[in-house]
């Protein structure tokens, strides 16, 4: 008999046991909210952005071990990345960073990718809004 049997890789279990960046960010620059209770996974991802770089990320997740571990991993991976770089993080990359996921758990990595995309889009939407507000202000300033 082998010594260790587990549904998950050691890496997944490590993130599950000690999830990084749990919590919410006050006044976040972007929030992603994905999943639904019927499927049993809900993820909330908060990001703080400075100069197009993600400087902080936190999550809250209702879900299985894989959901928690991928949430933790995605927050680790995005920190320090530019918005463009963040959008390139695929679910496969997340699963690989965790040394793999069981086939029936791959949807958790998909969910984490979606949470990230959704948070970034939220940021872009907001910043566009801010931008256009700023533009408007500028415009109105000009017109003044």
């Amino acid at each position: 008999m082998r010594d260790v049997w587990s549904l998950y890789s050691e890496k997944v279990m490590e993130h599950f046991k000690n999830p990084r960046n749990v919590g919410e960010i006050e006044n976040p620059d972007g929030v992603g909210h994905v999943g639904n209770p019927v499927c049993g996974d809900i993820m909330e991802l908060y990001i703080k952005v400075k100069d197009s770089t993600i400087v902080d990320a936190k999550f809250k997740t209702f879900g299985c071990g894989a959901a928690i571990a991928t949430s933790s991993m995605v927050t680790e991976m995005v920190k320090g990345k530019s918005i463009d770089e963040a959008l390139e993080i695929s679910n496969r990359a997340l699963a690989e960073a965790l040394d793999g996921l069981p086939p029936i758990k791959m949807h958790c990595s998909v969910l984490a990718e979606e949470a990230l995309k959704s948070a970034v889009e939220d940021y872009l939407r907001k910043s566009k809004h801010v931008l256009s507000e700023a533009k408007e202000k500028k415009g109105s300033n000009k017109s003044e």
Partner: protein, 388 residues
């Protein structure tokens, strides 16, 4: 690390005495019971002795005991056997919405092959109403299948009452007693059943062997076709060691059934009480009293079952959940949904099923560990916030 196993509804350890009884039949008395020579006949004698013991446990004549490869096969055999044999008479089957997959999936297979199946609802405790059974019977009804007790929430169904209704209507009546035999008294005549499924590995016997009890005169076609074994009712070389083990397990179960049931009931109630006291937003699933002596099923709000399970496992506590995450489908337990739980609550379910090795100490350990686990997971739950 010491482990506390609280998943006896999934499977039980085979008792050492059972293994000891099996051992000679692997290497020495290894014959095929169908063989005429001495090796064959000693194996044959052994399975007949085992048959007597299993028969005694459910109050049945030995000739009405047919060995199968487990509870799943017994359920498949009962349902497909009756359906295929009686389609001349009718094509309607009545069952419930909380049956084990071995019954539900078999019903779905039969539906695809032209049978009509009524899945009766249950109340908030998981109880089937005998009157619903009565009303569902039509002149096309050939079989009623209602489980004796739920493997998930532990609720014990009113089988005797349903048996009377089935008897009056002259409809075959099957019960899946996989979770009750060896744990609470089961008598096929008292229950009024024609067919009853059991499985050895749920009562400290080996995996890979079960029984379908078939009352004399019940008309069903074989499920496993082939040789002449089991009086031509179930083909396939008899699994001699496993059958012998089942016999031994049945004998042992019968010996201290009521004492053990009492002991477990009190542990069960202690665990339920403790959990409700120490964790808020927690609910007991299933009936508070009409339930298996060893079953505790709770839903913990705002947290998901598998993540609780994994955290418990890290502390040596082995339990189970009705969360989707533990299966290959994405839907949570059909049983919990049938009881009226919301998907979140179903995903947040935990099942502890006690057994012989468990003591007060194990219960205390759960009561100490689970609140911590729940607190940790709630701290990362997005549901709790929205609840506040």
């Amino acid at each position: 690390m010491r482990r506390i196993y609280l998943d006896h509804a999934a499977t039980t350890p085979t008792q050492p005495e059972v293994v000891k009884a099996m051992l000679p039949y692997f290497t020495n008395a290894f014959g095929n019971p169908s063989s005429i020579h001495s090796y064959g006949q000693e194996a044959k004698g052994a399975i007949e002795e085992a048959r007597d013991k299993v028969a005694a446990l459910i109050g049945a004549p030995s000739e009405e005991i047919v060995f199968t490869s487990g509870g799943t096969e017994a359920d498949n055999f009962a349902l497909k056997g009756v359906a295929f044999a009686n389609e001349g008479k009718g094509n309607h089957i009545i069952t419930t919405s909380i049956e084990h997959h071995a019954v539900i999936e078999t019903c779905k297979f039969l539906e695809r092959r032209g049978f009509r199946v009524t899945y009766l609802p249950v109340d908030a405790y998981g109880l089937v109403a005998p009157d619903d059974v009565r009303k569902a019977i039509t002149d096309k009804t050939i079989l009623i299948s209602v489980m004796h007790a739920s493997n998930e929430v532990g609720t014990i169904e009113p089988i005797t009452e349903i048996g009377k209704i089935a008897g009056e209507a002259s409809v075959y009546f099957h019960t899946d007693a996989v979770q009750t035999v060896g744990h609470i008294p089961v008598n096929v005549d008292d229950l009024g059943v024609d067919l009853l499924s059991l499985s050895a590995h749920k009562l400290y016997g080996p995996k890979g062997v079960g029984v379908l009890y078939i009352r004399k005169g019940t008309w069903l076609v074989p499920f496993m076709h082939g040789g002449d074994q089991e009086r031509r009712r179930r083909a396939g070389t008899d699994n001699v060691p496993a059958i012998v083990g089942f016999g031994k397990a049945a004998e042992l179960a019968q010996k201290d059934l009521s004492k053990e049931a009492e002991r477990l009931t009190s542990l069960r109630d202690e665990l339920i009480k403790g959990l409700l006291e120490r964790i808020d937003h927690i609910h007991l699933n299933g009936h508070p009293t009409i339930r298996l002596p060893n079953n505790v099923n709770v839903s913990v709000d705002f947290v998901e079952g598998e993540s609780m399970l994994l955290n418990l496992d890290l502390e040596g506590i082995c339990a189970s959940t009705g969360s989707a995450c533990s299966s290959s489908s994405l839907e949570p337990s059909h049983v919990l949904l049938a009881l009226g739980l919301s998907p979140e609550q179903a995903h947040g379910s935990l099942r502890f099923t006690l057994g012989r090795e468990n003591t007060e100490e194990g219960i205390e350990c759960v009561l100490e560990v689970l609140p911590r686990v729940v607190a940790k997971l709630r701290a990362m739950s997005p549901l709790l916030k929205s609840h506040r």
